[in-house]
């Protein structure tokens, strides 16, 4: 039996006074064997990223520090190392891959320089040898043109390629242990699958141990050998991936897995007879080439090309696609937050795009939005009741009545009426998104346009918010235009979906049909990229999360 690469035992990380709990991690025991991928799963705030920080000895000390336990790397006690020794280990023996490829690379240095830095720090190779080594590594992570990537600045390569660069940087010196902190969360599904495959391949070649931190059970199903589930700093369950995924024991794991949307679309609703509430025809939007004599030129970008769709009463239409496909632009045009170049959007037979400012204001009542980031879309200086009542007051509802309505709406979205007088920052992400929904509902709209409303939420919260949206839709007979990049979410909620690529609809139809029998190659690619698509979450009966 070989020695484990990483052996964490009894690890306890103390949080500063005044935090929500005294210890971020309590009695964590975890081992990573060579050639093994161990997934550390948990929701936000479970302490999973801090455990990575502890291994690297990069905790924000002294506020957050290791209070007890040991971390052994190849049998050596990491906690006993001097800062100097630790610096030698970092990057050479233990490497890290971070979540945000956008921000994890220094914007002012070329990709090559940043790879070179690792070699300069840890080897005595000459300049030419270092360059050859870096280029070789860039090739191994399958960058299309390693030479040009070597000389490029991070902003000049795409997000997926940047993550490849990060991986190349981590693997340069063949470390024994790689810590990957949500390495694919910020990527599109197709890119995510490529990166996961790449990590898998290279890890097999190098026989490195990987501690893979994620919140996504789809990713776990795709890549993990072993799974450890964290909840509020406590390890609630661990074991081989198959066992944990298909036969979870702990109620929390069961709840988490139960919340993963299965790739089974809802039964088709008989909607063909329902009246059309929203009809878009020939929408076009080009972000124009700017400039001329007195300023610089920018290339024109066609965000939406000749788009038409209809939305019937009580229906949920999903708009899916990867970043840059134009799906957000569609949601902005439909609500006329963005002026469109040509086309019509009819709400109840009136063209909202041709409406005068006065008419538009009246029409805004019928079509409301729920935004992605519940942190950023609520004014932090206003009380919840004012946030919700604002719209109706602007439209002439007496203040008292609007406030009373707001309180009723809070109940409708399953928040306590006492929430009314509090400020947005006092709520969790899921609760904030409920407030966002209540705000949209306060205008009694016919249509709600939701732009990635659950993307920023943990999976269990996500499930609750989706359920709420579905319930409200049925109860109030709302129509939903639901923009998302997450096909699992789309499968769960949408009656029909349109798949967008480069500003065009490549496929549309009933969700069940599209999922069962995708016609367009792009749709097929998207569907086959869903992480863990071969794994159907077991149907679990739990007594609520």
């Amino acid at each position: 039996m070989s020695q484990p690469v990483l052996d964490i035992s009894g690890l306890r990380i103390a949080l500063p006074k005044g935090a929500d709990r005294p210890f971020a991690l309590e009695d964590l025991n975890l081992t990573v064997e060579p050639g093994e991928i161990v997934c550390l799963v948990g929701e936000s705030g479970s302490g999973k990223s801090l455990s990575a920080g502890a291994v690297m000895r990069l905790l924000p000390e002294p506020h957050v520090h290791v209070a007890a336990g040991s971390i052994r790397f190849m049998g050596e006690d990491l906690l006993a190392k001097t800062p100097r020794q630790m610096r030698d280990i970092r990057g050479r023996d233990i490497a890290m891959i971070f979540q945000e490829p956008m921000t994890a690379l220094n914007p002012q240095k070329t990709v090559g320089w940043q790879l070179d830095e690792v070699l300069r720090l840890h080897t005595r190779l000459g300049r030419k040898a270092r360059r050859a080594r870096a280029l070789d590594m860039l090739e191994r992570v399958q960058l299309p043109d390693p030479r040009s990537a070597y000389n490029a600045y991070p902003h000049q390569v795409s997000g997926g390629q940047r993550q490849r660069v990060m991986i190349a940087m981590a693997l340069l010196l063949s470390p024994k242990l790689i810590i990957a902190d949500e390495p694919t969360t910020a990527l599109d599904v197709t890119t995510q699958l490529q990166i996961l495959k790449l990590i898998r391949e290279l890890q097999v070649e190098e026989q490195a141990g990987i501690l893979f931190i994620t919140h996504d059970f789809g990713v776990v199903a795709e890549i993990a050998d072993k799974v450890a589930v964290l909840r509020m700093g406590q390890l609630v369950e661990h074991g081989p991936a198959k066992t944990v995924l298909n036969n979870p024991q702990h109620p929390y794991t069961k709840a988490l897995i139960g919340a993963v949307p299965a790739l089974i679309p809802p039964p088709a609703k008989p909607l063909s007879s329902a009246p059309v509430v929203l009809k878009a025809e020939g929408l076009r939007k080009t972000f124009a080439a700017r400039g001329g004599l007195l300023s610089g030129k920018r290339k024109a970008v066609a965000a939406v090309k000749d788009l038409s769709f209809t939305l019937r009463q009580g229906e949920t239409l999903g708009v899916v696609g990867e970043s840059g496909s134009g799906k957000t632009t569609v949601s902005r045009i439909v609500t006329r937050l963005l002026e469109c170049d040509s086309g019509k959007v009819e709400v109840d037979g009136t063209d909202i795009l041709a409406a005068s400012p006065r008419e538009l204001r009246a029409m805004r009542k019928h079509i409301q939005m729920v935004f992605q980031d519940p942190m950023a879309s609520l004014n932090p200086r206003k009380r919840v009741v004012d946030l919700i009542a604002q719209g109706p007051i602007v439209h002439g509802t007496p203040r008292k009545k609007a406030h009373a309505d707001a309180r009723r709406l809070l109940e409708l979205v399953e928040l306590s009426p006492a929430a009314a007088t509090r400020f947005p920052h006092e709520f969790s992400g899921g609760q904030r998104q409920r407030i966002g929904i209540a705000r949209a509902l306060s205008m009694e709209p016919k249509i709600i346009v939701a732009d990635e409303p659950v993307s920023a939420l943990d999976v269990s919260v996500q499930a609750q918010v989706l359920k709420l949206l579905a319930e409200l839709r049925d109860r109030l007979n709302l129509s939903l235009l639901f923009v998302t990049h997450d096909l699992r979410v789309a499968a769960q909620l949408c009656d029909r979906i349109i798949v967008m690529q480069n500003g065009e609809i490549v496929e549309q139809g009933a969700t069940a049909d599209v999922f069962a029998n995708p016609q367009h190659p792009y749709t097929q690619k998207l569907l086959s990229s869903i992480p863990g698509r071969h794994w159907t979450p077991p149907v679990l009966t739990t007594e609520a999360a």
Partner: protein
């Protein structure tokens, strides 16, 4: 379609074209504003002479063209300005351009040294304070910065004159050189440098505090960013982190401020030049206002607006050099 000349030249040309209407607008605006002020050159000159009869005053006005309607005066002035003719100063009895060039050197020297000092010492102290945040060092640096920030420059100047010139007698009270010294060669430079110590200190200490505070905040912010964490995870040491990963990124907002301040230092130098009786543009400006020397004043403003435009352009170039994400366009 590849331009036949380097893109920077094309950019410079475009900026030059953009600058022309800006400068013209400034000139027209100031001209009209100055005309709104009560009194004119003749009033000031006559006041100096101790009075004159009405016919004489009328004749002087006609001679200087001040009897014309304002728009005619404006058109005449702008017409000359387009050929870079800044006119004649009736107070100094010299062409305005000659006076300006005589005075520009002192102000530029004062500005350049104060800003260079303020900038380099400011970012250095700011970076040190940020790396030892909330320690004694940080507290001392930040408190000193706050004190300089809060002290008006005239007060600081007077305090220094009292201490170094009156009490200790180390430094000259004012002027740019010892009047009866007639130094040549190195002695001249040393003499000028000694005269500039206090004005430079007075100007730079205040600006220093801006840079210090901004740099401290900027370094603190950058030090928390993901790529600094990446560098740490690579095993980079403290010095390396600071030099390669933090400083360069933290400098960007400070450079913006440098560009902005270069234009306001001219305003600040009015006070300092007046107190230390330095023959610079600032002093000239304040005297010209008192004497209603329109042409000189307009000349100073013309020169300043050109300096501001040029400095802005240079700042943008520097910014593009420092931040690889920015392309000149």
């Amino acid at each position: 379609m590849k331009p036949a000349f380097p893109p920077v030249l094309g950019y410079a040309l475009r900026r030059l074209l953009q600058a022309v209407p800006v400068v013209l607008l400034i000139m027209v605006g100031t001209f009209l504003l100055l005309k709104l002020a009560p009194g004119d050159t003749v009033d000031a000159l006559v006041g100096d002479m101790g009075g004159a009869d009405a016919a004489y005053i009328e004749r002087m006005r006609a001679e200087y063209g001040l009897d014309q309607p304002v728009y005619v005066q404006l058109l005449t002035y702008m017409g000359k300005l387009i050929t870079f003719d800044l006119g004649w100063s009736f107070v100094y009895e010299q062409p305005v351009s000659a006076i300006l060039f005589e005075r520009l050197g002192v102000t530029l020297l004062l500005m350049a040294t104060s800003l260079t000092l303020a900038f380099s010492i400011g970012i250095l102290l700011g970076a040190i304070a940020a790396r030892r945040v909330y320690s004694l060092t940080d507290n001392v640096i930040s408190t000193l910065g706050l004190i300089f920030y809060a002290t008006p420059s005239f007060f600081l100047s007077l305090l220094m004159i009292y201490l170094f010139s009156v009490k200790l007698g180390w430094l000259p009270v004012g002027g740019i050189k010892t009047v009866a010294g007639f130094y040549t060669g190195w002695d001249h430079y040393v003499d000028v440098a000694l005269h500039l110590v206090m004005p430079t200190a007075a100007l730079s200490l205040i600006y220093l505090s801006f840079y210090l505070r901004l740099m401290r905040a900027s370094v603190l912010e950058v030090a928390d960013l993901d790529y600094v964490r990446t560098a740490k995870a690579k095993g980079a040491g403290e010095t390396r982190l600071m030099v390669h990963h933090i400083m360069r990124n933290a400098l960007l907002p400070v450079v913006t401020l440098l560009g902005l301040q270069f234009s306001t230092v001219l305003g600040g130098s009015v006070v300092v030049e007046t107190i230390f009786t330095l023959p610079g543009l600032g002093q000239l400006a304040s005297q010209s206002v008192v004497q209603r020397d329109m042409n000189t004043l307009m000349g100073i403003i013309f020169l300043c607006s050109i300096i501001v435009v040029v400095v802005n352009f240079l700042t943008d170039l520097l910014y593009a050099r420092l931040d690889s994400r920015i392309e000149l366009a």
